[in-house]
Symmetry: none
Subunit: 238 residues, 2 copies
DNA sequence: CCATTCAACTTGTATTTACAAGTATAATTT
DNA sequence: AAATTATACTTGTAAATACAAGTTGAATGG
């Protein structure tokens, strides 16, 4: 329990309120408890509560109105493509099913989807996993994720079914996505993708190679996403 | 001066520091004055300074390091794909050649690439143009642009060769791009695209449908971009 | 009955104070 | 000379307090 003491209060409150919104305890349009009420509930002072609410408002979970209160907005739409926090929040968890094709395992690597690696990254090895995402029971996403094996104890033994990878990294390892870069191209499905997406030969598929920045300096997450855009186009704002 | 009193202090400090970064008073890598120094300079207390710095850090202008200070990062990169200002700035104008396939002309429209239109937009008609973009003399982009014909006098008679459409809108009509939304998918080249891109049948092509917001309320620009990603992948940050 | 006023909320801004924790440099010790 | 320690910075967290400003609804006046 000594690690928990290191997590600041405003962050704890943020996590609690955020999960209450994403898990449906609060619904869109609901009025959040007032700041003073939240103070007594969480046993902290108003500046601490406000810092948590600041972040929630900044990320679009709530909208604040002076004299009125904070109104729940729901899960925000992503910025960029597939949103910052991964595919899960872009579509909403309701209709998204995740199959783990390759369970998280330690691998050696020398490069990540055309992105060069630092010496430390190469020496540390990576946690490798493959997932297939089904939207309304149709396979739409297939993604390969590579995470440098730096300070992520017991990561490979965690359960990823129906959970966002980024949620786990944020809650358990305090790793937060800050931004990133991506290359996008259109390719023909190879045998593997034809099998996963259950499509014929010559089928066009979207490919994204992403290098994702985090709040840990020098710690990047690499992912390669393939997407069958027949029925679901990727949507993003900018 | 009575309105100025309504602007909170933390916002004033934010605006000052922000302009100092964008105007080059502070350069990338510079160490910002410490919070206490900023306090004495701007005659406010630390929480106020910190609120300004919070926002600057959140928007990417600075990065903060505990025990060290706040380091200037510069003007944050654009979000989205191809950057805010269109394909030209994404690649650099050097190797980009533009062929006008359909010169700007007034057309009727009822929808724009699956984006619904307002009554005013439909009644006004649109300025329609098609362009083929060559990178290093190879055709890479083919795009269709639709602009509502509202307050754009003499627009169709302008010359677009080698000029960015958005530059013309900004300089001559004070229309600035503020953001937008886009749908991205992977398709097979049809006869027209096969001809333009000089590729065989069944060739995968990237398609973007974009609705672009401007500083004019209710004034949107619609564009459909096809991209041959064989040699050049789309690149973007988020 | 209607309009106004007032009181009791809400969030927004700002100060003051205190200590924790990370960083860098100078001084000290080995 | 090199390693260690002390110290003087830096930012991070948190509380207690005060008042401003917007919203709402009940009480009061006409």
């Amino acid at each position: 329990m000594q690690q928990k003491a290191l997590i600041p209060q405003h962050r704890k409150v943020y996590e609690i309120l955020r999960s209450h919104i994403t898990d449906g305890v609060f619904h869109e349009g609901d009025l959040l408890p007032s700041e003073n009420e939240l103070c007594t509930v969480h046993k902290v002072t108003r500046p601490t509560i406000r810092k948590a609410l600041d972040r929630l408002a900044n990320e679009g979970y709530i909208v604040r109105h002076q004299g009125k209160g904070s109104i729940v907005k729901g899960i925000p739409k992503g910025v960029g493509i597939l949103s910052l926090t991964g595919t899960t929040s872009a579509i909403g968890q309701d209709n998204l099913l995740t199959h783990i094709i390759v369970k998280p395992e330690i691998r050696n690597w020398t490069e990540a989807f055309t992105f060069p690696l630092s010496q430390l990254e190469i020496e540390s090895g990576c946690i490798y996993l493959e997932r297939l995402r089904l939207v309304n029971n149709k396979p739409v996403f297939f993604d390969i994720t590579m995470i440098p094996n730096i300070n992520l104890s017991r990561f490979t033994s965690r359960n990823f079914e129906n959970k966002s990878l980024f949620d786990i990294l944020r809650k358990n390892y305090q790793v937060e996505v800050k931004g990133g870069e991506q290359k996008i191209l259109s390719i023909m499905a190879d045998e593997k993708l034809k099998d996963y997406f259950q499509v014929g030969s010559g089928h066009p598929v979207l490919q994204l190679n992403r290098k994702i920045e985090t709040n840990r300096p020098g710690f990047y997450i690499y992912s390669q996403v393939f997407c069958n855009t027949d029925e679901y186009a990727l949507y993003g704002t900018f």
